[in-house]
């Protein structure tokens, strides 16, 4: 009888992590910034139909990098979680924290139990209601590791370089146009190209909006904000 071959748990986890990281690093990046009027999400995404950034609930947005079908699956699970919770309790009881924890549990379980881990990182952002409460940004990694970020967050292929850039250049309370320009500069920090409005997917959680704070910024408005309008 042949012996079942043995792989140490350390080695198995290492291999899986390496596999997931490789998948994620191939993808384009996303930057999130806290701005004066809410939270800004900027993704490099040439497609106008397949979104990387989307609405989850009134004050909560989602962003994902890596393998599209995997983070799309997580996005829909998030919307389902939020809508059921809001329907059975009240809209105010749906929080980014609970959702981020659910994502963390799901990704952690998949990482340890499935042969193939998810090659994704996701981000859950919740804009503060005003009066004293603060924005929340959670960053969840492929293995379920969860971090709460302040001021800015980056994920995807060049996340480390982008974070380093933002550490030097981020300022609190930026208006939308300046923050957007900063975000685009951050996305191109490792590349020798410029990004136009056609390469970007941009959305904000706009504190000034009624109830549903999520708002996509269409390409026409983008070129205006970027100051590249012809």
């Amino acid at each position: 009888m042949p012996l079942p071959y043995y792989v140490s748990p350390e080695q198995m986890m290492k291999d899986k992590a390496e596999y997931a990281r490789k998948g994620i690093s191939r993808g384009r990046s996303i930057v999130t910034l806290e701005i004066r009027d809410g939270i800004l999400l900027v993704a490099e995404n040439p497609s106008t139909l397949l979104h990387k950034v989307s609405e989850i609930y009134d004050r909560i947005a989602f962003a994902g990098v890596g393998k599209y079908n995997e983070f799309e699956n997580l996005r829909i699970a998030g919307i389902r979680h939020a809508d059921i919770k809001g329907y059975s309790y009240s809209r105010g009881d749906v929080t980014a924290k609970a959702l981020a924890n659910a994502y963390s549990q799901a990704l952690g379980n998949i990482f340890t139990q499935d042969i193939k881990p998810f090659e994704v990182e996701v981000l859950v952002a919740e804009v503060a209601e005003g009066n004293g409460s603060r924005n929340e940004i959670y960053h969840i990694l492929y293995d379920g590791t969860i971090e709460d970020e302040r001021n800015y967050a980056a994920m995807g292929g060049q996340a480390d370089e982008i974070r380093r850039f933002l550490k030097d250049h981020f300022r609190e309370g930026l208006p939308l146009d300046e923050a957007l320009q900063l975000g685009v500069r951050a996305l191109t920090v490792t590349q020798n190209k410029t990004l136009s409005e056609r390469d970007l997917e941009v959305a904000v959680l706009d504190r000034a909006k009624e109830r549903r704070k999520f708002r996509r910024i269409p390409p026409e408005a983008l070129s205006q904000l970027l100051g590249t309008q012809r």
Partner: protein, 273 residues
């Protein structure tokens, strides 16, 4: 992976309906009668009922209006309930019938539309929304037979056609599109009679507002369940407009002003009984 399994997965991924999700994952939250309702007399008299709502087309879209009273038997159950709900940016539901199940249905319907919009990244068509509401009413049929009928009016702005449209329903979920106006609830006959005489094609917003309030005042006049404008407590019918630019409130102040004008005109001419 066998056929059945991937087809099941496919259905699950492609499903963007909130009510289906609720029924599958949280059936205890799904509105409707208990599987084994307690026996005994039907609770028809005991629960609050919403009374009169109406919708009519005008130049820019549709107006929806409702009185504010809920009636249980011969008692006023509430003087301030809201019967016109925003379903999404371009549509609204006016509820009549058993107030509890009706409000629950409106809430489920709102969540259904928002859920679809978020999952699909696109809005349902107006026909799709109207059809979905019909299915929800049909699911309430068993409760309707026990006297807890819910019969809403659905109205919205059809972006494709560029016009306002309105739909009425029966308790079985039957859906009927009305071209000009309709009313639902205990005072609906009187409101409809009034609308029949006053409605005109392509009315302005001001005219449409006046006509809808005239109809509600007539319904309150003739039907004991329907509440009229309450000048003492400052309670007035709620009126909403749905146009290309979205779902809008008509302010209490404006409604009050128009109500006062109508009542003053009626007092002057001796009209209205």
């Amino acid at each position: 992976m066998n056929d059945q399994r991937w087809q099941h997965l496919f259905r699950d991924y492609a499903d963007s309906s909130f009510s289906e999700l609720l029924r599958r994952d949280s059936p205890h939250l799904f509105p409707g009668p208990e599987p084994h309702p307690p026996s005994g007399p039907a609770p028809v008299e005991a629960v609050p009922h919403g009374t009169t709502v109406l919708a009519l087309r005008y130049r820019d879209g549709v107006i929806m209006a409702g009185d504010r009273q809920a009636t249980a038997g011969y008692q006023v159950a509430s003087r301030r309930i809201e019967k016109i709900f925003k379903a999404d940016d371009l549509s609204g539901v006016g509820i009549a019938g058993a107030a509890g199940p009706a409000m629950e249905m409106a809430k489920l319907f709102q969540t259904e539309l928002e859920h679809y919009e978020k999952v699909e990244g696109d809005n349902l068509s107006l026909d799709g929304k109207a059809n979905k509401l019909g299915q929800m009413i049909r699911m309430n049929l068993q409760a309707a037979m026990m006297g807890l009928a819910v019969v809403p009016i659905f109205a919205g702005f059809d972006e494709k056609a560029g016009v306002g449209r309105l739909f009425k329903y029966d308790i079985t979920g039957g859906r009927y599109e009305e071209t000009n106006y309709d009313s639902q609830g205990s005072g609906s006959k009187d409101a409809r009679d009034s609308l029949k005489k006053l409605w005109k094609r392509d009315m302005s917003r001001d005219d449409a507002l006046r006509v809808s309030l005239e109809a509600l005042i007539d319904a309150a006049d003739e039907d004991v369940g329907t509440g009229g404008p309450d000048l003492v407590r400052g309670i007035f019918p709620s009126v909403k407009t749905i146009t290309r630019s979205g779902f809008g409130d008509v302010t209490d102040d404006e409604v009050k002003r128009v109500c006062e004008t109508i009542l003053a005109d009626r007092a002057k001419t001796g009209n209205g009984g």
